[in-house]
Symmetry: D3
């Protein structure tokens, strides 16, 4: 499992949540995390979460730190558990940086009633995928939000790299943890 | 997914980490969390983690809050991801109670260099299982530890129930999250 | 597992056999059975069964009781076994109503050489799906058929609800049956 | 998928429900159905259904027609669905012989409140297994039962062969049904 | 598992690598191998291997012996192992015919630095698929190649049938090998 | 995936074919190949292949080069395909050393009618396992055999390491090959 930090701006419109995006654009073969920065605007027809479509919710943020995770197995529920762990990891990395006021609720992070994150997990024909976006700015969002800037995270790429690094290390450690236990009756 | 709080003392010696333990003793059928309190002493021949066996580590705690989780699917790696999420959930429930100094490292929780928890996940012939024990007392442990008492968690069953309740709710929410997304290309 | 009885007429043309149809239209999240009534006309390009396409068969019925079942796992063979059980359940519910002359042949129900049902199971990108339609009327069908009306089933929705209720209960009971046995050698 | 009719008497005590029993004793390699006749007495320590163990139920019948089914995949829930279909098939084969008074309830068959069958499905280290026993005699059973003799099934091996033949044919037809459909969106 | 030898010329342009191609065109239901002969030209937009797309490689051969293998399970890694075994089988069948100079490198066959084969494995919505093409002629290929003609294989259909026959027999023997072992501790 | 060459003699009696043998004895965590040298004597009660048990075959060789492969997934059929590929790899490594007279038949290697190898694949509670033994000496074997010595392979550990190295590299390359293709329709 590898990660790539794309430092050139890249806006997220939903089309990045497709299989092999990280491989085709940044050359990482196999399970991967891609980190980039840009706005986030997902139109209804690109939305993956049918709950949002049914509720006619829409997603917009001027400036976000994005993570795209791809796992080349086909168990969506498993990748949803991994997604929750990614969110917990983001929260933990913020704690290391002194931010201890966040609360995780499923795949969302909140400071009080202000939302820091959006996230979705889904299946492609060859893999499972997660998108997670963290507001950098909290301007002009359709619901009350908080951004990494409000949390005094100034070097967002450095922060993103810490998250990606820890997530990749944890995926590896979980794979090995599976290989050192005997079964029980 | 259901949980059961066993309030009568029950010491953990490793033999509780077997399939259908919660069903046979407490009647819960299906995925479950069992919470109980007692000492923790696991002899080498009951150890499941071969890394500990190879290292000749042993596990002892005078008084622990125990969680036994059983999932009736056979993907151990998936249950290890769930185990990590359980550990993150324990940390989050402690944060709600004002304990903000803990750090998660894989399936361990630490306050500084003092260990709060032990945990293992494994396979039975019909299910996957997790044990997690949290020190209540930190007396007489073979390595530096911290206990829930040191963290001012006095009602350990109430705390254990919060963890179990949140974990069960999250397992359900993850199952449903799998059922509301369209695939992508 | 839940079911929904849609009492407003809804004609089946094959496009209803798609992932999340029941969720998007009727709000049921997770494994589900949808019951509705309407004509059934599936053109060649909507057909899912390539055997019918190759044979240039076509499907038409003026008035059918329809079941759409969605299971959010990806094992098509398993859903085909469930489909056969659904057909057996339909037969059994008819027996409760005094119809003891039917014969099940795979996923078809017959009275003598007259066909009562059509059925297909397939995969979507996120789930497996079953359609089963039971003739209500047997007028103007391309092959000899029998309808629920001929079998004196007058309240087709009540009948459909019994089938859906029993199927959902059986899926639950099978899930639990998996969680109460020890393994053998 | 093959079946074997063992015409020499063989009493069932639970130890026959083990992996490769049919291969080791009767030479059938791969998915199989074994049919034999004999008494059925399963002691508590051989019981596989923990619900019966917890309830201290025991199983006894003087003379039964036994089916042991082995499928060499490891999805117990899938084999439980197959088990229900096997029970439905037994009922259908009895219908062909004029017995139209039976009712299936999960993996049990009843005539009124008299039980015809016992059945269990479980996992071995290399396969999944089903046992189903049908009372031939209804004498001296611990609960009210009915036997094949009461239903005027005199040639029980011929009947058993019909069941095995239909079950094997249906497993094959389900495997092929999986191979002739296109996916949907 | 069955095979079909299509003796009428059929050019490969990538569109043959789709689910149910062999069933729809040649009537084989279930796991299958199709053997045919024709040119091979795959344009960028039909390419399945993103590594080739990224490298802007293209595939062209005037005359090839083609194999299309379809397995109706969804584990792509497993089908990739089978693909490697197919390539080993092709090499072994050539050895029987006196060609002992070939070297297998993953899913490629070489004589010295001249390439004999192209191959790819992928997922469809209902199956996994392999294409393997062996040059018959080595004229006008974009890289140095060798053809079956250079290896003195004159009856390419007879050769193709041997490969298909051995592959099908080996798939069956592997399925049975899975059904005759006990588990170990 | 890693390999370990154990140069101290180690006799194979079947008990080495157990889960975590390579981890517990040689410290390799995760998928692994262990190579060692020693006699091979497997008594009936340690035999894994029930076909041999039924046939009352027994296995003996004075001096063998042994491979034990462990894969931490639970699909035995998949590991049997890998086993066949391992056998093909052994044959290919011998070809590099000038031995071009071998024939692979399933999981066996022959020179004419003399057998070079024994092999078996099975399941443990936490993994799948392969044993393959190649005769070094062909003295005193119960059936006609050939040994590596007869094939002029003098440095058997160097040869064993080549096999292990190529097998590990191929497992990795197959894992990556799964991660670079788009799906097809």
């Amino acid at each position: 499992m590898q990660y790539f930090i794309q430092r050139h701006p890249l806006n997220y419109d939903g089309s990045q949540l497709q299989s092999l995006f990280t491989y085709k654009n940044f050359g990482l073969m196999g399970d991967s995390v891609l980190v980039f920065r840009g706005s986030c605007t997902v139109e209804q027809n690109e939305m993956v979460d049918m709950e949002d479509v049914v509720a006619q919710d829409w997603i917009h943020s001027e400036d976000m730190l994005h993570f795209i995770v791809e796992h080349f197995d086909m168990d969506l529920e498993k990748t949803i558990v991994r997604q929750r762990l990614l969110i917990a990891t983001i929260k933990e990395e913020l704690e290391v940086r002194g931010v201890t006021t966040l609360r995780r609720s499923g795949d969302d992070l909140y400071a009080g009633d202000k939302k820091l994150s959006v996230s979705i997990a889904t299946l492609s024909p060859v893999s499972t995928l997660v998108h997670c976006g963290l507001n950098i700015s909290n301007h002009n969002t359709p619901i009350p939000t908080i951004g990494l800037t409000n949390l005094n995270i100034d070097d967002v790429f450095q922060f993103g790299e810490s998250v990606a690094e820890h997530y990749c290390a944890e995926v590896l450690s979980m794979r090995l943890a599976r290989c050192k236990v005997r079964g029980v009756s």
